[in-house]
Symmetry: C2
Subunit: 313 residues, 2 copies
C-alpha cells in the first residue's frame, strides 16, 4: 500500500478529507469498528487512507488498571497483527497521565512525534525503508517592526537590556501561536516601546537553523514596515536599556547596530527616497481552496492591469 | 526575580551565553554544584540566568530503580525547595525510557513543553501570573518551485494524484529539518517532476494557522522562482497525475488552478515582461552577530549605491 511521501501534496490530500486528520474509518457507536481490519489484538485503532493506524489511549477504558508490562504485551500483539495486515505506521496518542505506557512503547521501537501540554504522540514506522511520516513544526517565527515616520525621517529603535553588546535594533519578538506576522510586529512594538503603529508591508525574511534560542529548531525572522500612530515613548524597562526615535540616515551609517538592522535601514532609506513600492511586499487576505479558511499572502505589488485581466481570484 | 517575557530579546540573551542554553551554574567534576542553591531536595538542578531550574533525569543515576510514587515525593520536595528559593520555573528533561516519571510530574502540575524522538521536556511555572516561558516551534515550512523558462515562456506545473479537484499547481513540499528554503524548492521539483533547476529568488510568502495538515499548528508556505537546468519530465507517478510545461499566459488565465498559483503566474508574467527585479526578493548569506553561524536573508534588491555607501555589513 502506498504511503504518500513527506511532501505538501500529502498534506493537501489530508485537507480533502472531512477534517478528521487521518481517519477514513471510525468507531461505531457500539465501540466496534466499521472496518474489522482496524483492530489490533485488543488494542483498537483507526485506519487512515495511507495505510497507517491511529490509536487513542484516552478511548480505551480497559487500560485504566493496566501496568506497563501488560500494556507492552498488548501493544506488541497489536503491532504484530498490524504488520500482518500490511499496515505501514502506527500513531499512538497518549494523555499525559497515562505516560507510564510511553516507555514500554519505546521499548518496541516507538519514538515521540511531538507533545503538547497534556498529551504526547508517538509513532512507529512499519513500512519499507526509512520513515516517510510527516514531521512536526520545525520553525519558530519572530517578527520585528521598523516603525518609520516619513515626515521626520525618524525610525524607532531599542537597545536590549540583556545584550552583552549594546546595539540599536528594531523592537520585536516571537509570534504567539496562531498570531499573524503583522499583529506580532504591532504588539511587540507596543509592549517594548509604548508606541502604537499599524502594519504597512513585509520587508525582509531571514531563515536560520539549529537556533540555540529555538531549542535547536529553525528560526524564521521577519521585519515589517509599520506606520506610527503615536510617538511618545514609554519603553519596557525590563527588556530595554534605551529606546529612541533616531534619524534613519544615522541608523543606516552607524556601526552600533546589527547587520540586519543596518540592511533594513538602508532599504527604508531607499524606499523613503524612491518610493516604498521599491521595497515593500504587500499583504492580502486570500481564501484557501480546501479548508474554507483565509490566509495572508505577501508578495510584490502587482499592477492593476495584471490583477484584473486574468485568473480566478 | 525577573524572567524575560517571551520575546526575541529573551532569545537574544540566550545567544550571549556560552552555548549552554539555560545554564549559568554547572555541575562540578565531583558531581556537586558550584552553586549550592541549585539543589532541590535530592534532585539536582542547574540554575539559569532567568531564575529557572533545569533538571536532566539522564544525569541522575540514583533514579534508576525508583518507582513513580517515590519519584513524585522526590520531585515534590525539590519543587517546594525551589519555590522557597524564589525560582520561577522548572524544566524537566526526561529520556523516553524513563517516561514513567512523566505522569507523577504531571500530577504536580508539570506539562509537556515539547518532545523529540527519544526525550521529552516538561515545564512547571512557579512565577507570578501566567507562564512567560518561551514556546516551542509553531510553524511548518512548505516551499513550491515556479520553474520558468524565459526563452519558451513555459512554466512547470503538476496535478496532484490525491486531490479531489484536479488543478494545476507548482511542485513543492515540506522543508526537511534544517533545510534552506531554496534547497527545498529545488529538491521537491526534482523529486516530483525529474526536472533539475536552481534557485533565483523568493516570490511570495503565505501564512496560515490551525492547519489540519500541520497537526493544528501554523503553516508558512513560500514560492520560489527557479531557473530550469533540464527540461525532460519524468514525474513521480505516486504523487502526480500529470506534469507539463505549460504556457505562462495560459496558467495566468485558466480557472483550473489554485488562487496562489494563479497569482504567482501573474507575478511571473509581470516579471517576464518588465524585468524580474519587479517581483524578486533576492537572497544573500549574512553572518549572525552572536552565534558565528550564517543565515539567509531575503529582501528586495538594494541598489549598489545604497549597499556600498553606509553600514557595517
Amino acid at each position: 500500500m502506498w504511503w504518500a511521501k513527506r511532501t505538501r501534496s500529502w498534506f493537501s490530500t489530508l485537507l480533502d478529507a472531512d477534517g478528521a486528520r487521518f481517519r477514513t474509518w471510525r468507531h461505531t457507536a457500539s465501540g466496534g469498528l466499521e472496518n474489522p481490519d482496524s483492530c489490533g489484538g485488543e488494542l483498537q485503532g483507526e485506519l487512515d487512507r495511507f495505510g497507517g493506524v491511529s490509536v487513542h489511549l484516552s478511548r480505551h477504558r480497559t487500560l485504566h488498571g493496566l501496568d506497563a508490562a501488560a500494556f507492552r504485551r498488548l501493544l506488541q500483539a497489536a503491532v504484530q497483527q498490524w504488520r500482518t495486515e500490511g499496515r505501514i505506521a502506527v500513531w499512538l496518542h497518549i494523555p499525559i497521565l497515562q505516560s507510564r505506557f510511553i516507555a514500554p512503547a519505546a521499548s518496541l521501537g516507538f519514538g515521540f512525534h511531538h507533545a503538547e501540554a497534556h498529551s504526547s504522540t508517538l509513532t512507529l514506522w512499519l513500512g519499507e525503508g526509512p520513515s516517510r511520516l510527516p514531521g512536526y513544526a520545525t520553525h519558530q517565527v519572530g517578527v520585528a517592526g521598523a516603525v518609520f515616520d516619513d515626515s521626520t525621517k525618524k525610525v524607532l529603535v531599542v537597545q536590549d537590556r540583556n545584550k552583552l553588546k549594546n546595539m540599536w535594533k528594531f523592537p520585536g519578538g516571537l509570534s504567539e501561536p496562531g498570531e499573524d506576522i503583522g499583529d506580532t510586529a504591532v504588539r511587540e512594538v507596543f509592549e517594548e516601546t509604548g508606541v502604537r503603529s499599524e502594519f504597512r508591508s513585509l520587508l525582509s525574511i531571514r531563515q536560520q537553523h539549529s537556533h540555540p534560542g529555538a531549542f535547536g529548531m529553525s528560526d524564521m525572522y521577519l521585519v515589517c514596515r509599520l506606520q506610527p500612530l503615536s510617538f511618545t515613548i514609554n519603553f519596557c524597562q525590563q527588556e530595554c536599556l534605551k529606546c529612541e526615535w533616531i534619524d534613519l540616515e544615522n541608523l543606516a551609517r552607524t556601526k552600533h547596530t546589527t547587520p540586519i538592522t543596518s540592511r533594513v535601514a538602508r532599504l527604508l532609506l531607499y524606499g523613503h527616497r524612491e518610493g516604498f513600492d521599491k521595497i515593500d511586499l504587500s499583504m492580502e487576505e486570500v481564501p484557501a481552496v480546501y479548508t474554507g479558511l483565509f490566509y495572508k499572502l505577501y508578495h510584490r505589488e502587482l499592477p492593476e492591469s495584471y490583477r484584473a485581466a486574468v485568473g480566478t481570484d
